[in-house]
């Protein structure tokens, strides 16, 4: 991936102007500490306003879920044949979001793309929190959530196991492992920074960071162990990330339904996941850069690289999408073809065309330097891309239910109702509040890695 980016990079360099620097290499290390630690100070009132709004939004979701839990899933207007509704669409959306943290922190790490360093921390946090959000949907969606543990292969006296041939069991396993590994990776990568926090904090905060920094002193031996472990977890995390979304894809591909039963679904889902994740990173990048005055770390050249990366992935996604259309259109599966035609012409047609427009046309904005260096534009574009990807998930799940094999149960009237929308909105509140807490408790820019980056670049310059 980085080769592509660098290639694009070098094209830009040759044609237009001398390469802008990713970061001011002459920045003082002490300034890095000060700048980053500043983000952990007492928040401004606007923080509380947004935070409480997020809590309120989450509260709406919780209220809807309590109502649904007590009354039954019927209140969400789930029905035959629309048995899944928004919950599974949004589940895929959040799982997809989680992928780019891994891309930035693990894949680019082992590829030595050092421009990732100032921005991977919050991306990794985003990964963890979106996974935690996605996990909620698995629970929200179950008819008998109080027995969710049946899907886990736990030893019991009756020797009853989950059904290992079901992709949902793979799902539970893969998401569980991925979440665990992500949390460890996020925490482990923060230890040197937590030590910096410890050193400059007072009172209970100092105790808090001291406990978390597990006696980090920055000795050579510690650094060497740290490096090896970090790399190992990164290597573990990459296959997990790929497998998680492949498995989510098999939830559909293993089933027999028209529109789902496609071998191209796993790579298509992974591409979609990276795509929406990168778009989300751009959004959060811009927000953090603005809020915490991180202009010196989250620089425009890094944003550009991110945009180029997103553009490349969007084209991969578009390609896989077109492959799917073409193979269905020219294939012999009449049912799948009918389902495809239904997507383009049925009651969900506006959404389908919106998805194709937002997913495949809007990303061309990223190809223009003038646009991708214009921060407000990028904010809008990244939000549009994510909207497009959310619609994509909706369009994968819903039309197949509406227009499957069995014509008698074809339904032309289903739209999600306020319970489902409330729970989906609640999930955004939940994610926002987790992310805001994270940014105020932990350094959202990796201080030690920025120092490394600067150090290595100065050495390279010399």
């Amino acid at each position: 991936m980085s080769t592509v980016v660098e290639e694009l990079d070098s094209i830009g360099e040759r044609r237009f102007e001398p390469k802008a620097k990713d970061i001011n290499e002459d920045i003082a290390w002490a300034k890095i500490n000060t700048d980053v630690l500043r983000s952990l100070e007492r928040p401004r009132p606007i923080f509380w306003v947004i935070f409480l709004s997020a809590v309120a939004l989450f509260g709406v979701g919780v209220a809807c879920e309590i109502y649904q839990y007590k009354t039954g899933l019927g209140v969400a207007e789930l029905r035959n044949p629309h048995v899944w509704g928004l919950y599974i669409s949004t589940f895929i959306f959040w799982i997809g979001m989680s992928h780019s943290g891994t891309l930035l922190s693990a894949i680019l790490h082992i590829m030595h793309a050092d421009w990732r360093k100032p921005i991977y921390r919050f991306a990794e946090a985003m990964t963890t929190f979106s996974l935690m959000t996605a996990g909620l949907f698995v629970l929200v969606h179950l008819g008998r959530v109080w027995q969710f543990y049946y899907v886990v292969a736990y030893p019991n006296e009756r020797w009853t196991w989950p059904n290992f041939s079901s992709p949902l069991v793979w799902d539970a396993t893969a998401i569980g492992s991925y979440l665990t590994t992500s949390v460890i990776f996020l925490y482990f990568g923060m230890i040197p920074d937590l030590a910096i926090c410890r050193d400059s904090a007072t009172g209970f905060r100092r105790t808090f960071y001291r406990l978390l920094s597990v006696g980090w002193q920055g000795t050579d031996r510690q650094w060497s162990n740290f490096r090896i472990t970090y790399l190992t977890i990164a290597c573990l995390l990459i296959p997990l990330a790929v497998s998680v979304h492949s498995i989510v894809a098999t939830d559909f591909a293993v089933s027999q339904q028209p529109g789902w039963h496609t071998t191209s679904f796993p790579p298509y889902f992974v591409a979609g996941a990276l795509y929406s994740g990168c778009a989300a990173i751009i959004t959060l990048f811009i927000i953090l850069r603005h809020t915490f005055r991180f202009e010196e770390y989250m620089t425009i050249p890094i944003l550009e690289k991110l945009c180029k990366l997103t553009f490349a992935i969007s084209m991969v996604w578009t390609y896989l999408n077109l492959i799917e259309y073409a193979s269905t259109w020219y294939g012999t599966d009449v049912y799948a073809k009918q389902a495809l035609i239904y997507r383009a012409t049925g009651i969900y047609r506006y959404w389908w065309w919106a998805m194709n427009f937002l997913g495949s046309v809007v990303p061309f904005a990223l190809a223009f330097k003038a646009l991708r260096t214009h921060v407000p534009t990028m904010m809008v574009v990244s939000l549009l891309l994510n909207l497009g990807m959310w619609i994509e998930r909706f369009m994968i799940v819903t039309p197949t239910f509406a227009h499957g094999y069995y014509p008698w149960t074809w339904s032309d009237v289903w739209w999600p109702n306020w319970i489902q929308i409330g729970i989906v909105a609640g999930s955004f509140g939940w994610f926002t509040l987790l992310f805001m807490l994270f940014c105020k408790i932990f350094p959202s820019v990796s201080m030690y890695e920025v120092k490394e980056m600067v150090y290595h670049r100065i050495r390279a310059r010399k």
Partner: protein, 751 residues
């Protein structure tokens, strides 16, 4: 001595539970052995280890079947109830009944819900200051007794019932005879009295028996024998044999709106409402051109059909001209044929003429003695069913309006619901000083009564029933309780009748402590006709356990009758009324009938076979009509006749004449338990005062209406999804009859 039955005295003491179970238990054992193929009591005893000492004949965990009779419609199907731990759980057909043959329809199945209905009336109710309030049976009986002796209230004391048969019918007949009442009026809102009168004129009997399974071709003019017919289970069984015959029978259905039977036809022909007779005469004329048939009619009849040539008939009926000779040819090629006429041709001002013209086809084809018979002699003619009609209710209504009716006892019918508004029946009922109704649930008529009495459910009561037009021997169906009374205050109608008769004519009835005793002695007295060798008690027990008293008897030939050509005279073509351009078809639903079953939630949720709509009323119109009116599915229409209007959602269906709109009967109850109340609309209400010229029966399908579109559109509560086509999937595949050889298939087991 087993004492069972609900006299005024026995209610207070209550029925001994052990006695009850003894009684039905004895009945049940034999029926189990006789062949329902399920478990027996004896085998269960060995298997079940119970910690509680069960009642006699109750084996926990083992269901036992007891025979009884279904009373959901008049066809008197033998049924069996599965009873477990003293509760009845499910109804099945009784294999010993020649009518049901072990089969049962949806309406019959749902009878159990009427029994367990949460809205059953539990105590007698007396109206005080316009409100029904609970009272006691003592009070109620004293009020009822007042109607027996003449009072100054009014000259006529009327018993108004729905169609009845068996011993209840004998008691009802005895009411005017003994002076306990002056009149017994039998009312049926969906009566077939027009057909009966025409049959009498042309075949000498009111009820002919058409043998579908003996016919090679059935030509049915709107006879919904598979759905809302007279005996749908028996007809469906005949139909199955008809289809599986060596040469597969062909069904042609001609009607203005598709019925369930029409949906199963090889050829469904749409016809302008009321012109069935014209088509029939056209077919007669066509048939007469064959020399085999040319001599089957008298000259004046031949002259009468002469004007009905192909062009003329096609012009009047809207049926394609080339179809007429083709149907005639098929009638000939697939003889013996059977021509049936149903509700649609009856329901017009010229209904009798319509029916006669159709019956003329049977005469020309000489189906009498082949597929058309007269039923065998019933050994006890006094038990024959009293099929109701509309005319007598109309007369009663006039008397009520004139203040001639002093008291009215109502059972088994709901005229306030099923009479059109123009009769003002509810208003006239208020002019009757004393009116009492026996009901299981408070319906519209009961709400207008002064005294309402809680009736036992048919599954708690004894009774005997005789079906009309039985095709396979003669059968008296026996109804026995399948479980103890749910509500202790409920009583049998027979008990109340007997009480009143005892007052009017003590010498005849005082020997019977209750209706059960009366029934038992009557049945046992009939023993010589069935099984003279056994003891009385044994005969009674055998009868209960079999659920039927059966006598094999051959069908009788129909007498040859001369009739005048005037019978088949068809009216001149009606001119269309511009203000009311459409014909209203109040369609009869197989599961709802006249609305009596609307309180059963299974039937409310059972999709209408053709529209798949549940829990609602609707207005069926043809897509071309909808296009013309710019109506989409779900648009709320106002259907307005000269008498009033109703609102219903439009349902587009290809199986209807474009000049008609069909609204199903059965919904629109104002009071009838939680499941029926405020569901849909009642098309009875807006019917025009048009009557059959010959019999005076209400013409059900002659009302003309205007359709107005409103701005409202509501989604349909229906089972059908976004499409009603198979979309190229092989779901219901259809083969042409000449592509398949049924003889090569394994013989079908058809009961």
């Amino acid at each position: 001595m087993i004492r069972f039955g609900m006299t005024a005295n026995s209610v207070a003491s209550g029925v001994n539970r052990r006695d009850f179970l003894n009684l039905v238990g004895l009945g049940g054992t034999a029926s189990v052995l006789a062949g329902c193929g399920n478990t027996s009591i004896e085998s269960g005893v060995e298997l079940v280890q119970s910690y509680v000492q069960p009642e006699t004949f109750v084996v926990p965990g083992v269901g036992v079947y007891y025979a009884s009779t279904c009373t959901q419609c008049g066809s008197a199907c033998g049924i069996m109830g599965k009873v477990r731990e003293g509760r009845i759980l499910k109804l099945e057909g009784n294999p010993q009944s020649a009518i049901s043959g072990g089969k049962i329809c949806g309406l019959g199945q749902a009878g159990i819900q009427g029994h367990y209905s949460p809205d059953r009336l539990k105590t007698p109710m007396l109206k005080e200051n316009g409100v029904l309030k609970a009272t006691t049976w003592e009070k109620a009986m004293s009020l009822l007794s007042g109607t027996v002796s003449f009072t100054a209230q009014g000259p006529r004391r009327v018993v108004l019932t729905g169609p009845t048969s068996g011993h209840l019918q004998i008691l009802l007949k005895a009411m005017p005879q003994s002076g306990a009442a002056t009149d017994h009026v039998v009312y049926d809102s969906l009566s077939t009295a027009v057909a009966a009168s025409v049959n009498l004129k042309m075949f000498g009997v009111e009820q002919t028996v058409g043998l579908i399974d003996k016919a090679g071709l059935v030509l049915s003019f709107g006879n919904d024998f598979l759905g809302a017919g007279d005996s749908p289970v028996a007809a469906a069984r005949q139909y199955a044999r008809f289809r599986k015959a060596e040469r597969r029978g062909i069904l042609i259905q001609i009607e203005p709106k598709m019925t369930l039977t029409g949906a199963n036809a090889d050829r469904w022909v749409v016809i302008a409402p009321g012109t069935e007779g014209v088509l029939a005469l056209g077919l007669v004329r066509e048939l007469l051109q064959r020399k085999e048939f040319a001599n089957n009619l008298s000259p004046n009849l031949i002259a009468a059909v002469e004007p009905y040539n192909q062009t003329e008939v096609s012009h009047i009926t809207g049926v394609r001209g080339d179809l007429i000779p083709r149907i005639a040819a098929t009638l000939w090629e697939h003889s013996p044929s059977l021509v049936l006429a149903g509700r649609y041709p009856q329901g017009h001002a010229h209904g009798s003429h319509n029916m006669a013209a159709i019956a003329l086809l049977n005469v020309v084809l000489q189906n009498q003695g082949k597929t058309l018979w007269r039923e065998a002699e019933l050994p006890f003619p006094q038990m024959a069913p009293a099929l109701g009609n509309f005319k007598s209710l109309r007369q009663l209504n006039t008397q009520m309006a004139a203040g001639d009716v002093g008291s009215m006892l109502i059972y088994g019918t709901n005229p306030v619901y099923s009479t059109p508004d123009f009769m003002r029946f509810a208003d006239n009922l208020q002019k009757v000083p004393f009116k009492a109704a026996w009901v299981t649930e408070l319906d519209e008529t009961a709400m207008h009564c002064d005294l309402v009495l809680p009736l036992m459910s048919p599954l708690e009561d004894f009774g005997t029933h005789v079906a009309a037009a039985q095709s396979d021997g003669m059968e008296i169906s026996i109804q026995q309780p399948l479980m103890e009374k749910l509500h202790p205050e409920a009583r049998s109608f027979g008990d109340s009748l007997l009480e009143l008769l005892k007052q009017a004519k003590p010498e005849s009835y005082k020997s019977f402590p209750d209706y059960y005793a009366y029934l038992k002695s009557a049945v046992v007295n009939a023993k010589p006709a069935f099984d003279p060798k056994v003891e009385d008690e044994e005969f009674w027990e055998n009868t209960l356990s079999a659920g039927v008293l059966r006598r094999p008897a051959a069908l009788l030939p129909l007498p040859a009758i001369e009739f005048s050509a005037d019978l088949v005279r068809q009216p001149l073509r009606e001119s269309r009324d511009a203000a009311y351009p459409f014909v209203l078809i109040p369609a009869v639903r197989p599961s709802m009938r006249d609305g009596k079953a609307a309180n059963l939630s299974w039937l409310q949720e059972s999709p209408d076979p053709l529209t798949t709509v549940v829990w609602d009323s609707w207005a069926e119109i043809h897509p071309s009509t909808a296009k013309q009116l710019q109506v989409n599915e779900g648009d709320v229409l106002v259907i307005k006749s000269a008498q009033g209007s109703i609102r219903a959602k439009a349902y587009l269906i290809p199986g209807i004449h474009p000049g008609s709109v069909a609204v199903p009967i059965g919904q629109g109850h104002e009071s009838y338990g939680r499941y029926a109340t405020n569901v849909g609309v009642n098309p009875f209400k807006i019917l025009d005062p048009i009557f059959d010229e010959e019999t005076g029966e209400l013409a059900l399908y002659a009302t003309r209406v205007a359709i107005m579109k409103t701005d409202q559109n509501e989604r349909f509560t229906k089972d059908e999804g976004a499409t009603n086509l198979q979309q190229g999937r092989k779901l219901v595949a259809t083969l042409a009859a000449d592509q398949v050889d049924l003889a090569k298939e394994t013989p079908f087991v058809i009961r």
